[in-house]
Structure formats: structure tokens, C-alpha cells
């Protein structure tokens, strides 16, 4: 009964989405206030029905209603409660319901906070959101109904893929989807703006907070996925350039570019058509991400639901949405009036360079991800493109990007003095040089790439500090006055500085762990000791323990350094009984400087175990850096000028007359 209510709610939501997608759009075209006004109640009702469907599905999972096929396939009565919740989106059908629920949620936010948006723009934005909803709801109902019944119902379910039964991955999809779907806001605003033929500073001011919100969630979502891969897959790595990872990384790169070009668009009225294009591309890549993960066009370690029939549907939808919006762009964008001329050396120029580098990086990732598909289509051999390609193409783009990011915030709008900016960065340059020299001196020239990477990170970090110090007139005013300036500084400026500092910390972590990881793979018997990176790892014992729905072989490692006890680590190898799958749970000891990482493998049959031990320097900096970046995004979002729904078109000062701000 509950499942049928959910199913029915989805059908009603589809009907409402069709209305929401058509009526306000026509109303906006004919300037009919009543037709436009239909958008808000339609959005509210749609949100209600999709929430109902989502709640019904969640109920079915929590009470383990195995007469629902989706529950039977992806749950089990002994599964811990957290994963009964997470199981809702741990599968293809349920994750799509989550997708449309988030879409409806964002639509609801526009309806709720969009009171002072021009009515025609609001109607068009909500209509486009509605049309996207139509596509996804139809996809769910036609190819991926989560409420299908089973008759007879099985006694118990097949359980969730054990790799997904993990706290990190429980929250990974919702965050990722908040990011993906968040870009639908920028997209809807872009398409609405193109239909209206007007992209102005107000438009950009509307797009920025949504993009920032989407970007922050996506950053956190990608990081959570990477963190999960790090401790769950048991190979000590945090990024594998796997197609599914790339699928979430490409919208991130495009979204980061959009975030920056929208600033130019808002402050200076320049780069309009480019910003619109980026908004379309960021969302298109989010859809492509869905397509790549769901269709089976690429194989990957974690493309967990693949079905070509769904692929055909998504591809058709993709062609309609992306092809349609890009065609609209092609027709309308040439007529966009652009203001704000600027010299190549200027804040705008710096942001444009940032955009060029980010988009190029995005294209190289796209090429690497799709190349195997295309080679196959062209009748070539089957290949897989691995980390060496991505490292070779990505690093040469990332290095200049870091350097530009250090300089950019010190450049003035319109026309800047590069020599002056570089002079102000003299301490950053000295610091970076010192880091490079020290690294080369300690580790020899073999690690020169790492030295450059760390140098660039130091440059960026010190550049951020320099910029903030200048704004606060630190050491030039009394500490008290500086503090007053710090409080008075716009939150956007703090947000930018935090985000950039986070990037520096993140890069430091990535470079250090990729270059100086040490690992030992060996066979150990209880009592054996292995020395690695200044630590001694002793395998004390291996026991069998029972979890709620698995049995595990759990090892105890005693870690010592110089005879001093550091910690005890308990890596596990779990066997989930329902699916018969094994998972590894690494035993990790984190300090601020490194992770000690242990994995217990198969017994060799004669009392020994295959073990892997890693010393991963500065890995915690990766997660710390990302947290700082996201904090920056959140701080910037609280800036009153980002206050969702306060465009104040009337009080807008002339472009360029605004005070300098981030």
C-alpha cells in the first residue's frame, strides 16, 4: 500500500512537472501574469509529492518490505539501520528519486526566496527546472521504477553491495547530487536569460550564490568519495582517475570556472556569453556524469548499475537538454551586449586565464575519459586510459593555475600593474623558492616535480596571507585597527582567501603523498615485525569477529617507533554473508603529518597472512585542505550581498564604481 502511494505520488509529480514546464514558460512569453503565477504553487506541490514518494521508499527500506523489488535487491533484514536509510540511494532507482527530490528542493528554494526576482525570469527559471524534472521523472517511471512489487515476496533481501555499506559512502551520493543538481540552477538561469536575451549584472548576482552552493556540496561530495576510496578500497591511494571519479570531477572543474567567470560578469559586465556557456556546460557535465555511471558505456570499479536501455533514454534526454540549450546559445548569444573592456593584465584577465586553464583541464579529463569509447566506436582497439595520461596532462595545467591564483587577487580590475603586484608578492616568492631549494636539497633532483608542486603551494598560501595582510594593513596600523578591518572585510573576501588557502593545503597533501608514500607488501605471521618509514609494525594476532551482517578476520598491529608504542591498528577483511563479497577495512592511524595505513589480506594456509602497510605522508592535509575550501564557500555564502534573493536592481551602482572586492 505504502509503495503504491509512492508510485502514485511520482506519477502526480510528473503531471505537475509537465504543467510547471509548459504553462509559466508560455505565460512569460505572452506576459500573462496568471499563467506565470502558476509556477510557484506547481513547484510547491511537486516538492510535496516527490517528498512523499521519497518518504514511502525510505519507509519500505526501513521496515524491510521485501515485496518491493528494489528493497529485496538492495537490502537485508540484518543490515544496520544507517544503511537501510542509505540503501535508499545506494541503488540506481532510489538514487534517481533522490536526484529529482533535490531538483524539486532547489525549485522550492527559488519559489520561496525568489520574491524579488523579475516575474518573467522567475517563471522561466521554474519552467526550465520543471522540464528537467519531466525528463527525470519520466526516466524513473518508464525504465527505473523503484516501487515495483515482487510476487511472491522473498523471505529476505539480497543485501546492499558491501562496498557501499560504509558511513562515508552513505552521505556521498546526497552531497554529490546536491552539487550536480545545484548546477541545474545556473543552467536554468542561463537558459532563461538566453530566452529573454538579457544577461546582466543582476542575472550574474543571482547565479553566483546557487553556483557557490552547488560547488561547495560537490566539493564535499567528491572529497567524501575520494576519502572512501582511500580507506575502503585498501590500496592506499585516494584518486584513481576512474571514469566514475572523473564524471564527478569534470562538473567540478567547469563549476569552479563558472564560479570565477560569474564574478567578472557581475562586477564588470564582461565575459557574459562565456559565463552562460559555462553554466550550460557545468550542468551538461553533471548529466553526462549520470550518463556515464548509469549506462554502462564505460566500465569502472564502481559503476554499479548498468543497463543499455536506460543509456538510450539518458542519451536522448542529454541530446534534448544539452543540444537544445547549446543551439539556443548559438542563436542568442551573438546578440548579447557586452560591456566592461579590460586590459589583458587585470583582475578580469587573471580570472579569464583561470577559466582557460580550468576548462582546458576539464577537456583533457573529458578526452581521457571518453577516448576509450570513441576508439572503440571507430573500430580501433579497446584501450583504457590510465593515471599516467591524466598526470601528464593535468599537472602542467595545475601548476600555472596555482601561480595565477596567487597573483590574481592582487590585481586591480580593468588595468593592473603586474610588476607592482609581483613586488608585493616578494615574500611569497622567497618562501616558494626556499621550499623548492629545501626539497631539492633534502630529496635530490629526482623529486624536482614535487619540489615545484610544493613551491607553487607555498607561493599560493603566502600570496593569500600577503593579500589579507595588505587588506588589514597589518603591522601598519595598530593591531586593534587591523582587527576592526578584519571584521569589516566582506565575507566574500574571507571566503575567497579561505578557499585559496585550502587549495594550497590540498596541493601540499597531494604532492607529498604521491611522491613520498612508502609501502610494504609482504607475508606476515603473527609475531612478525616489519619496519617502514621509521616505524615498526608487529602483527600481534589475527582473530575472527562477527558483525551484524558479516564475519571479519581482524588483525591487531602494534606500531612502535624507537621502542615507543605509537598505536594499535585493527584492519579487517570482512566477508558479507549474503552477497559473499569480501571488503577490506584498512586500519589507519592519523597524525597531522602522515597516515599509518595497514591492510590484512588472505591467509596463505600455513599461518601467514598477506599484509600491506603504507606510510602516507601528509594525506590528512588533503582532507583538511578540502574542508578549508568548503568552509570558504560557506563563509562566502553568508555574505549579505549573496543573500539569496536580494538582487536590488534599482540600487545597482554603475559597473566599476563598486569598491574592490573579492
Amino acid at each position: 500500500m505504502i509503495a503504491e502511494i509512492g508510485h502514485y505520488a511520482l506519477i502526480l509529480a510528473l503531471a505537475l512537472a509537465i504543467v510547471q514546464g509548459i504553462v509559466p514558460l508560455i505565460g512569460a512569453q505572452r506576459n500573462d501574469a496568471a499563467w506565470m503565477a502558476l509556477a510557484r504553487p506547481a513547484v510547491a506541490a511537486q516538492f510535496f509529492f516527490i517528498s512523499t514518494a521519497f518518504a514511502c521508499l525510505m519507509y519500505a527500506f526501513v521496515v524491510s518490505d521485501f515485496s518491493v523489488s528494489n528493497v529485496a535487491n538492495n537490502s537485508h533484514s540484518t543490515k544496520p539501520l544507517l544503511y537501510k536509510f542509505a540503501g535508499v540511494w545506494g541503488n540506481h532507482e532510489g538514487s534517481l528519486v533522490l536526484w529529482v527530490w533535490i531538483l524539486a528542493f532547489y525549485g522550492g528554494l527559488v519559489a520561496l526566496f525568489g520574491g524579488n526576482l523579475p516575474p518573467a525570469l522567475r517563471a522561466r527559471v521554474l519552467s526550465i527546472q520543471g522540464l528537467i524534472g519531466v525528463g527525470f521523472l519520466a526516466f524513473i517511471l518508464m525504465t527505473s521504477n523503484p516501487f515495483l512489487r515482487l510476487d511472491p515476496a522473498p523471505f529476505d533481501g539480497n543485501d546492499l553491495n558491501p562496498l557501499l555499506q560504509d558511513p562515508g559512502l552513505a552521505f556521498h551520493p546526497p552531497l554529490l547530487y546536491f552539487g550536480y543538481v545545484g548546477f541545474s540552477m545556473a543552467f536554468a538561469f542561463a537558459v532563461a536569460g538566453l530566452i529573454e536575451g538579457r544577461i546582466d549584472a543582476t542575472w550574474a548576482r543571482w547565479v553566483r550564490p546557487w553556483t557557490l552552493l552547488a560547488w561547495s556540496s560537490l566539493t564535499l561530495g567528491v572529497a567524501l568519495g575520494s576519502w572512501w576510496a582511500y580507506y575502503e578500497l585498501g590500496w592506499g591511494g585516494f584518486w584513481f582517475w576512474d571514469p566514475v571519479e572523473n564524471a564527478s570531477f569534470m562538473p567540478w572543474l567547469a563549476g569552479t570556472a563558472l564560479l570565477h567567470s560569474a564574478i567578472v560578469c557581475e562586477k564588470r559586465g564582461a565575459l557574459k556569453s562565456w559565463t552562460v556557456l559555462l553554466a550550460i556546460i557545468a550542468f551538461s557535465l553533471s548529466l553526462l556524469g549520470t550518463f556515464l555511471v548509469r549506462s554502462g558505456v564505460l566500465t569502472s570499479v564502481h559503476a554499479f548499475a548498468t543497463d543499455p536501455a536506460r543509456g538510450v533514454f539518458i542519451l536522448g534526454f542529454l541530446v534534448l537538454v544539452v543540444g537544445g540549450s547549446l543551439t539556443l546559445y548559438g542563436v542568442r548569444a551573438p546578440n548579447l551586449r557586452s560591456g566592461g573592456l579590460f586590459a589583458p593584465i587585470s583582475r578580469e584577465g587573471g580570472l579569464l586565464l583561470n577559466n582557460l586553464l580550468l576548462s582546458t583541464a576539464c577537456v583533457t579529463v573529458l578526452l581521457g575519459t571518453l577516448y576509450p569509447v570513441f576508439l572503440d566506436v571507430l573500430g580501433g582497439s579497446k584501450v583504457s586510459v590510465g593515471p599516467p595520461y591524466f598526470e601528464m596532462t593535468f599537472i602542467p595545467l595545475a601548476l600555472p593555475l596555482l601561480i595565477v591564483t596567487g597573483i590574481g587577487p592582487l590585481l586591480a580590475w580593468k588595468r593592473a600593474d603586474l610588476a607592482g603586484a609581483l613586488y608585493r608578492l616578494k615574500f611569497a616568492a622567497l618562501g616558494a623558492l626556499a621550499v623548492i631549494i629545501v626539497v631539492v636539497a633534502v630529496h635530490s633532483f629526482a623529486d624536482v616535480m614535487a619540489a615545484l608542486g610544493l613551491g607553487a603551494a607555498a607561493w599560493l598560501f603566502l600570496g593569500v596571507v600577503t593579500e589579507i595582510a595588505e587588506r588589514l594593513k597589518l603591522f601598519r596600523l595598530s593591531l586593534r585597527d587591523s582587527l576592526a578591518r578584519a571584521i569589516g572585510l566582506p565575507r566574500q573576501a574571507w571566503g575567497m582567501s579561505l578557499a585559496h588557502a585550502g587549495v594550497a593545503v590540498l596541493v601540499t597533501g597531494i604532492v607529498a603523498t604521491s611522491t613520498w608514500r612508502t609501502e610494504g607488501i609482504q607475508n606476515m605471521r603473527p609475531g612478525d615485525t616489519v619496519a617502514l618509514a621509521g616505524y615498526e609494525f608487529t602483527l600481534n594476532e589475527v582473530n575472527f569477529v562477527e558483525g551484524p551482517n558479516y564475519v571479519a578476520q581482524r588483525a591487531e598491529f602494534a606500531v612502535t617507533t624507537d621502542g615507543r608504542a605509537v598505536t594499535l591498528l585493527y584492519p579487517e577483511r570482512r566477508r558479507y554473508q549474503v552477497t559473499g563479497q569480501d571488503t577490506t577495512e584498512a586500519g589507519i592511524h592519523t597524525t597531522l603529518l602522515a597516515d599509518l595505513y595497514t591492510v590484512i589480506g588472505e591467509p596463505d594456509g600455513s599461518g601467514g597472512y598477506a599484509t600491506r602497510i603504507y606510510h602516507n605522508p601528509l594525506v590528512p592535509w588533503i582532507w583538511l585542505g578540502i574542508l578549508i575550501m568548503v568552509t570558504g564557500g560557506a563563509v562566502s555564502l553568508t555574505d549579505r550581498r549573496h543573500r539569496v534573493g536580494a538582487p536590488r536592481r534599482a540600487r545597482k551602482p554603475a559597473p566599476g564604481a563598486r569598491p574592490q572586492e573579492g
Binding site: 557574459k272 562565456w274 541530446v319 543540444g323 579569464l352 576509450p372
Partner: protein, 192 residues
């Protein structure tokens, strides 16, 4: 940046200027066509050009420290066999290794190895630590034989029938499911 067409002061849009804005749509069209065609291909099954062809002619030295190398004749010895291409530097190989050990224990099928582009010492250590499931192993030090076999990544597993023809190729980690659902039934059907 003033040469950037989009940013110049409003000039009457010429035809070439207009066309520039359609480039993204055209690029996407190409992309979508490729993806559409790609959908009809299953990436899991790699249609080896060698399917149903005799195994390539080769003779490989044994891995240092083991006794028996691998040559084409060994694969025509009158019984079906599996040839597993592996390397000690390959993480996924380690993941499938226990399955190979079990297969060897059960004795269902003759298991041969091609040690692909590996350092002899490393291969030896690998076998010592994880066990050696193979009846014979050929050391393909420079990957020359791998090219003949169409190997593009390790691990790969080939199913060879009794007359030495390649009947099936599996790319990537072999799982218990692949074995039960595909390889063992295929082996069964090849039995006289």
C-alpha cells in the same frame, strides 16, 4: 582581450561571428553521436581479434627460479586450459590471485601463466608469497609475446580449447561470478 569577439563593443553580428557561437552545439553533436554508437558496444566483453584462432606461436623462458617455461605446444597438449596474464606490479592481479589458487587446488582446469613485463626477482617473490597456481609460466620480459596475444592491460585471462584455439578472453579481474557464470560453463561445453 579586446580581440575576443564576445567582448568587443556591439558590432553587427556577422555570419562568421554568429557561427562561432554554434561551435559548442556542433562539438556536442559529435560527442553525442559517439556516445550513441558507444552504447551498442559492451565494454566488458572484449572481442579479441584472436577469438577462435589458434594461439600465436611463441616460446617463453621460465620465470627465474621456476622450472617450466611456456610455449605454444603446451597449449595444444590435448586438454582445455586457462592462460592468465599477470604481473607483480599489477594491483588487480593480486585481487584475483586467491581465486586462481583455489582453481589450481580444485584441479578443474590446467592453468598457465604469462608473466607480463615483470622484473624476474619481483615475479619470483610474488609467487613465493602468494603461492604459485600455474603449471607453467612464461616470462614475457619485454612484452613482445603480449603484443601477439593482444594484451592491453593486466590481468587478462584466455580460455584455450584442447586444440589450442583461443575461445574466450576475459579482461580485468576474474571474479568468482565470472568463473561460475561464464568460464566454467564454457569449459564444460568444450569437453568432449
Amino acid at each position: 582581450m579586446s580581440e575576443n569577439g564576445a567582448e568587443s563593443p556591439p558590432a553587427p553580428p556577422t555570419r562568421t561571428r554568429r557561427f562561432k557561437f554554434l561551435i559548442p552545439a556542433l562539438v556536442f553533436l559529435g560527442l553525442a553521436t559517439g556516445l550513441g554508437l558507444g552504447l551498442s558496444k559492451d565494454p566488458g566483453v572484449v572481442p579479441s581479434a584472436l577469438i577462435d584462432k589458434p594461439v600465436p606461436e611463441f616460446a617463453l623462458e621460465p620465470v627465474r627460479g621456476t622450472e617450466r617455461g611456456l610455449a605454444s605446444e603446451d597449449l595444444r597438449a590435448g586438454a582445455a586450459s586457462l592462460v592468465n596474464v599477470f604481473a607483480s606490479w599489477c594491483g588487480p592481479c593480486r585481487a584475483e590471485h586467491p581465486l586462481l589458487m583455489k582453481l589450481a587446488e580444485d584441479g578443474t582446469v590446467a592453468l598457465f601463466g604469462i608473466n607480463y613485463k615483470d622484473r624476474p626477482g619481483d615475479a619470483r617473490t610474488w609467487l613465493d608469497q602468494l603461492g604459485d597456481p600455474f603449471e607453467r609460466i612464461g616470462a614475457d620480459l619485454n612484452g613482445r609475446v603480449g603484443i601477439d596475444w593482444g594484451v592491453y592491460g593486466v590481468p587478462e585471462t584466455f580460455l584455450i580449447d584442447a586444440t589450442g584455439r583461443i575461445r574466450y578472453k576475459h579482461v580485468g579481474v576474474l571474479t568468482a561470478r565470472d568463473l561460475e557464470e561464464t568460464i566454467l560453463p564454457l569449459l564444460e561445453s568444450l569437453r568432449p
